[in-house]
Symmetry: C2
Subunit: 743 residues, 2 copies
């Protein structure tokens, strides 16, 4: 006891000194425990809330019931042995969750059984930890090793939770117990993750974020503000590394995380948790205002990057991951706690998970009180890179008989989990994928599937260009599938703009292939109706312009989701034998199911999606472009790949080529109610001309209505640029980037 | 007016005479209109109900709003010209629905505009009908022609609705209008459908039911009780044909309709509608008590033949058809009106559709008052054929972490829409198909897909034996795919029995192939748990015994739904070239994806369904059985087929062979919450022995727990038969058909 007090006093003096140096007040630093993401004020409200009916009480009772079963079982702190998915790995993961949950239930119930459960486990860890060598399953040279886990990343995650659990039960501990736990566990593990692992700690990378968060939060609990300083500014406190640098570098100014939404939601967790702890302990740092509110922007952007509750599956992404992920549940709760933005409650409602925290309680009570407002999904171009100028991820949305979204991806490579899919796109309608991205080739944690890790086919198929909806030159992938080269180059967003009827964007890249320039312009359109009635017809217009001084083969795949209904040209289908389409770069995984060489004019391909709607892709044909129908599955000895379908427009032996297509949702197939409506496209003719710098696309419908979509995708034109062109004897004019003429 | 009264008096005299002859009272026959499926008493309640909040009011307002738009458009009664799907066909269908709806809204609102709308349309029909020759698109020798429609079936459906519409507006008409309409339309059409089309009218067949219902209902409205007599007993009133004979012949004693649930729900409509009209007009006929309540049984059986709201898709079935179909909405409403069975409200709730009838009102009010009780789905063997002894359709159900169902099909052929799939089975779990049936090859009403009719692949694939989960001998289909032969033969149900842990059934057929006897026994099992906790482990046991004096090739396919995860044997997968598996009888549509010849012992194949659960099929291998992995899609020039997967156990060159398999749901794949549980089967060993007449299956789990399932599938054993056998040195005994021993 005495020893502890002495230490504490020493620390206090040092901390006071530090605070003076920093010009920071200390009024929160020595507040009562708990004081991280849950404060003692929160606890007071939570204790009251569990006494009255409501979502919070329900969540609490469910959690407590689960925990009550668990704490009857013996504490198990095994000597680390297994890699990811193995017993000791999973057990240590489970332990931090149990300690965290028990800590909260202790605070709410004030029943010491829960605190003792955490204490006993921590004492075992305190005994074990100092004896541990680096983990036996570590991968030397590949991942920084942990001691409890094979990689230090898991160790940091463990500490983020366990420091909070400790904070929650601190008031229940004797001084001797505190000393044993801190000396045996928290000090060694914080040291191990910081000064003993400078590469990770200082790294401006997601692993670094978990590590700095873990050490910083432990610093708050133990009163080691020096650790917090290091967490914020790097080990040398220069600001070249650390949490703030990570906030500067890892997000774009709009809060987009360069690896894409699947990793964004994962990365989000330590940012939000640590920021909240900083806010609690040192509000004067105004961490949520840092970089113009970057943490809140990152949370909101994560939501924006979803469709029908699932994240857009660009790059290495497990496709079933969505907004109900715990990282975003936490993000939404913290953001709501700060902003009281009622739109967030819409998301919280869909997440259907109440956190047992102060913010969780605020969300629960707001939901109980039906304060929910619809969350507003928007059409946005999220600039990529820390400056927001390294290309962009473009989301276009509209509502035409259901929510529609187009993702257009002139984004940067996105590091090691990025795919070679510059300028690719995806289409969503009525809740479903229509033109899709394969996502990652992986069965997460399924041992039989390559140990649950990324499958070999993730590299041989999923990352390759042909696995996406963008141009492949000479059956090779962008940047020759070289990550380094990919990271060093990015597309350029030429424009993004929108009005009531059109959202449009254009981008280019000259570095994906040597000597080939790729430029794509996409528009999501709803046709004007009389008297401003709800729009009925919608299209995606896709103009992909490829230019080269040399001759190449250009392939433009459309990975469509649904059942092929019809084509307006004859198919030469493989009837008794399926050959493989190619040899490498993903082509070795494609069966060649059918091919065709449509006449010059309009080619039309119609498919039926599970959502009961038809989709027709209408393309301008020059008479020398072939269409290939493929299915994934060749060279797949263990059935690792999903057998999905695509059609590929192929222009061989050409220098320049422009692929012009229009994709149109239409009609309804309702076999349950036995009706089928508008199974046939309404597009009758399509033309494209380049008139000086203006692209002119004329769309003629079967009812003879005609529309002209004109745009100017030159680099660097002025906002008020006036465009003029003559077409079929008439003169047209528009300001800015584009106009849809209803003629 | 005078003329009308005179006629009416004449009729009354004749009718009174008839009634005396029949010993029937007349108190309902001359009740006020309306008096078919909706009575004037119903109307009184409905008028009150639309004044107060509730489901009925909502349904009424929605219906009325729709109708109000329609009646502004000009009446269109075109000269018949088009076949199914064409304009005049669809228009006449739409007209009867509009007249019926307008009739109801007239009764509720008493607003003559609605009655006049029906009147005007009927007057146009009365003018047109007498001028019509047989329909120009009739198919001579194939379908009985109509005049408004290409087949008389549609004409009968039209009249079922239109007679009701007329009944609903009768009070609004002048005598002259009545005469014009009855003389011009109802008398000629009733004559056309009855005395002029005796083959259809007298036919004991679904088309006959629509026709007798149409004529009988028209008879009630026009006071022509003679027509009713003919409808009930056939044109000659001998009882050899007509509605009652149809009730005798077309359903089994349990109310199973021999073509399967997809056609059962369709057939149901005229039975229910006409029975209800009979009940209203002549309650003394006790039609709903006829044949021990066969109409109500048929309604309930239709519900029982569903899983997760969809009908089991045996035979020609569109797979998305389910309990919300209008025929069953009507059936449930009428059944509830008669029985007040609160379990039916559970179904009505899921149907989410309120009828604007007296019964619809009762359902709506009961739902408003929250009287719903859970509907009880049961394990049942539905005897097939009018005597219930022509095989059976067996449904087994249990709840183990979700609702499970096994459909086992030792049923009769089921006429022209039947498939050659004797003894096939299907498995459902957690809302999804696990072992599936292709259903019909058809895109209903999608013109581009073979005019929306049954595709050629319905015959070349969907009906063939290999498209099902049952034994194929020498790559030919049951009965050589001859419908007549199929209809003339049926399997024999050996037994069906159940207890708390096992539902079991066995059946055989010797006529599917010449000289080959097929016998299959299936059990759905949940393993006993300590202290009667909820069961956790469940299995399907499948023993398929094939016997012949000559050598054959025996194929047993499992059409599995999901992604192949692993096999415990090596696969020889086609990597760069997919050959077709066979030449005919469905085999020409299968790509050969991989093959294997597992060692003697246990072969295991695991797949992952979209429901997030793993399924392992464990089979006893003799070292000489090969396994083929196939995908549908060969010889499919227009992409008409779904590319679904199967594995086929193939025993070549054998006289007798017994396929023994165990299918086991296990674990959970949850990539969203990032965990995977029990991805590996718990079955370690499986053995099968035939000890005299007893089949003994031993199941050993990975935790070394052992179970013995013993059964006696001999023909004709006594209920209290005692079975004894020795196994591994112990003696076992059980009564009746089977026992699961926990050893």
């Amino acid at each position: 006891m005495f020893i502890f007090i002495m230490k504490s006093v020493t620390k206090k003096i040092r901390n006071a000194f530090l605070l003076v140096c920093l010009g920071l007040s200390s009024h929160h630093v020595f507040a009562q425990h708990p004081n991280l993401d849950i404060t003692s004020d929160d606890v007071t409200s939570m204790r009251a809330a569990v006494e009255s009916n409501g979502l919070f009480q329900q969540a609490y009772l469910a959690q407590k019931a689960m925990l009550d079963e668990q704490i009857l079982l013996p504490v198990d702190v095994p000597v680390p042995k297994d890699g990811g998915g193995g017993y000791t790995h999973e057990r240590h993961k489970k332990n931090y969750q149990l300690m965290y949950d028990a800590g909260i239930v202790y605070q709410i119930t004030q029943d010491k059984r829960y605190a003792n459960y955490v204490r006993d486990m921590l004492l075992e860890y305190a005994q074990l930890y100092p004896t541990l060598p680096p983990h036996p399953k570590r991968k030397i040279g590949k991942q920084n090793p942990g001691k409890l886990f094979w990689q230090s990343l898991n160790e940091a995650v463990w500490l983020v939770y366990t420091s909070q659990a400790y904070d929650l039960i601190l008031p229940s501990l004797s001084a001797g117990e505190k000393t044993t736990i801190e000396e045996g566990l928290f000090r060694p593990i914080a040291k191990f993750l910081s000064v003993d692992s400078p590469e990770t700690f200082n790294k401006v990378h997601n692993h670094g974020t978990w590590t700095t968060a873990a050490v910083g939060m432990t610093g708050y609990v133990l009163g080691e503000l020096e650790w917090v300083e290091q967490a914020l500014y790097g080990l040398d406190k220069s600001g070249k590394g650390g949490f703030l640098k990570q906030l500067d570098e890892l997000f774009s100014p709009q809060g987009y995380y360069n690896e894409g939404p699947y990793y964004q939601r994962y990365a989000l967790m330590p940012f939000v948790v640590f920021a909240k702890a900083i806010q609690t302990n040192q509000p004067e740092r105004k961490i949520f205002e840092y970089r113009d509110g970057i943490v809140l922007k990152a949370i909101d952007t994560t939501i924006q990057l979803s469709y029908n509750k699932l994240f857009f599956p660009i790059n290495d992404a497990i496709k079933s991951k969505g907004i109900d992920t715990i990282e975003l549940v936490n993000g939404v709760a913290v953001a709501y706690g700060l902003t009281n933005d009622a739109g967030l409650l819409d998301i919280a409602k869909q997440q259907n998970q109440i956190l047992l925290t102060g913010d969780g309680l605020k969300v629960a009570q707001a939901l109980d009180n039906k304060l929910t407002q619809p969350y507003q999904f928007k059409s946005v171009a999220f600039g990529d890179g820390n400056d927001g100028k390294q290309g962009a991820l473009v989301i276009m949305r509209q509502n035409v008989n259901g929510e529609q979204a187009v993702l257009f991806k002139p984004a940067a490579q996105g590091l090691g989990h990025g795919h070679f899919d510059k300028l690719t796109w995806q289409l969503y309608d009525r809740g479903e994928e229509i033109v899709s991205d394969y996502g990652a080739a992986r069965f997460l944690n399924v041992e039989a599937k390559f140990g649950g890790r990324y499958l070999p086919e993730n590299k041989s198929w999923a990352k390759q260009t042909v696995a996406h909806n963008t141009v492949v030159v000479d059956e090779t992938s962008h940047f020759n599938a070289n990550v380094k080269k990919g990271n060093a180059n990015h597309p350029e967003l030429l424009f993004f703009d929108k009005n009531d009827h059109v959202v449009m964007s254009s981008a280019k890249i000259d570095t994906a292939y040597k000597g080939v320039s790729l430029k794509r312009t996409m528009a999501l359109i709803n046709l004007p109706t009389k008297n401003n009635e709800a729009p009925e017809l919608s299209f995606v217009v896709d103009v992909f312009d490829v230019q080269s001084k040399n001759k190449h083969q250009y392939d433009l795949p459309v990975h469509y989701k649904g059942h092929l209904i019809s084509t307006n040209f004859e198919l030469d289908t493989q009837l008794t034998n399926l050959p493989v389409l190619g040899k490498d770069n993903g082509y070795q995984h494609l069966w060649l199911k059918a091919q065709a060489k449509p006449k010059a004019g309009l080619s039309q391909i119609t498919w039926l999606n599970d959502n009961g709607r038809f989709y027709t892709s209408s393309s301008i044909m020059d008479g020398d472009t072939s269409i290939i129908f493929s299915q994934i599955g060749a060279n797949d000895p263990l059935f690792n790949l999903r057998n999905e379908n695509a059609f590929i427009n192929r222009k061989a032996n050409a220098k320049n080529h422009t692929f012009v297509s229009l994709i149109e949702p239409h009609g309804e197939y309702n076999p349950s109610k036995e009706f089928t409506l508008e199974a046939v496209s309404k597009v009758n003719k399509l033309s494209h001309q380049k008139i000086e710098n203006i692209d002119v696309i004329e769309i003629t419908l079967t009812n003879n209505k005609r529309y002209i979509l004109a745009y100017n995708a030159q680099q660097n034109i002025k906002d008020k640029h006036v465009n003029r062109f003559s077409f079929n004897g008439s003169t047209y004019q528009f300001d800015g980037r584009f106009k849809l003429f209803d003629i």
